[in-house]
């Protein structure tokens, strides 16, 4: 089981802050494709991947990052701290 967490407008578009999924996706990009195929709200949230950032196990990575051994994937817009 993989934890997926969403923040900011990604969370709002998908309508939940976190969920657990059963997936065989090899990379983040594969996981995104699975989610998009699942429901319209995911397709809306992931429509423009260039507007999104992803972290696996709390480390920023690219969408080509492998998911083997990963426990948590986070999707969010570019950060606006400070």
């Amino acid at each position: 089981m993989l934890n997926i967490v969403y923040f900011a407008w990604v969370r709002e578009r998908i309508g939940l802050p976190r969920e657990k999924v059963e997936t065989a996706a090899a990379t983040v990009a594969d996981l995104v494709a699975e989610l998009i195929a699942r429901e319209e709200r995911y397709a809306v949230a992931f429509a423009d991947i260039s507007a999104l950032r992803v972290a696996v196990d709390q480390e920023l990575v690219g969408f080509d990052a492998p998911l083997a051994g990963v426990r948590e994937v986070a999707f969010f817009p570019p950060m606006t701290g400070g």
Partner: protein, 152 residues
């Protein structure tokens, strides 16, 4: 090194004084230069009701600690402080502050700017402005992303 994430307000002046007293009192590693940055919730046209800051608790602390570690080593800091609020913030309230201390001012300034650049674009915070007209997520600025280039 002190990194604090909190919902409640803080007193930037009192934090600066406490930080300065700690980093300058050491006879071994006494710092002569202390730089601070304070970010405040701005409301230039009186529309803002509040700002809401969301963050990623499992990632925020470790990510900021890594930035502070890097800055401390890179510029030989005598000390560094990061305070960042989350939750609902009123206009005019401090959002966050950074303080750095070093023997000479160039190091303290560079480290403070480095920390601000990375906190802006690499620490997992997201700001939402709630106005009378509705709520909007603050968009990331291209020049904030570009600011990171000078440190590579």
């Amino acid at each position: 090194m002190v990194v604090r994430l909190q919902e409640w307000a803080f007193d930037a002046g009192a934090e600066l004084n406490r930080f300065s007293a700690n980093v300058t009192s050491s006879k071994v590693n006494g710092a002569g230069a202390v730089v601070s940055f304070t970010g405040v919730v701005r409301d230039t046209d009186d529309r803002l009701i509040r700002m809401e800051i969301e963050h990623y608790p499992a990632m925020t602390g470790p990510a900021i600690e890594a930035m502070v570690d890097h800055a401390t080593g890179c510029w030989g800091l005598a000390g560094a402080l990061v305070i960042h609020r989350y939750g609902a913030l009123e206009p005019g309230a401090p959002i966050m502050m950074v303080a750095t201390a070093a023997r000479h001012r160039a190091d303290a300034f560079a480290a403070a700017e480095y920390l601000m650049d990375f906190l802006k674009s690499r620490a997992p915070f997201w700001k939402k402005e709630v106005t009378k007209q509705g709520a909007t997520w603050v968009a990331a600025r291209d020049d904030d992303e570009q600011a990171l280039d000078r440190w590579t």
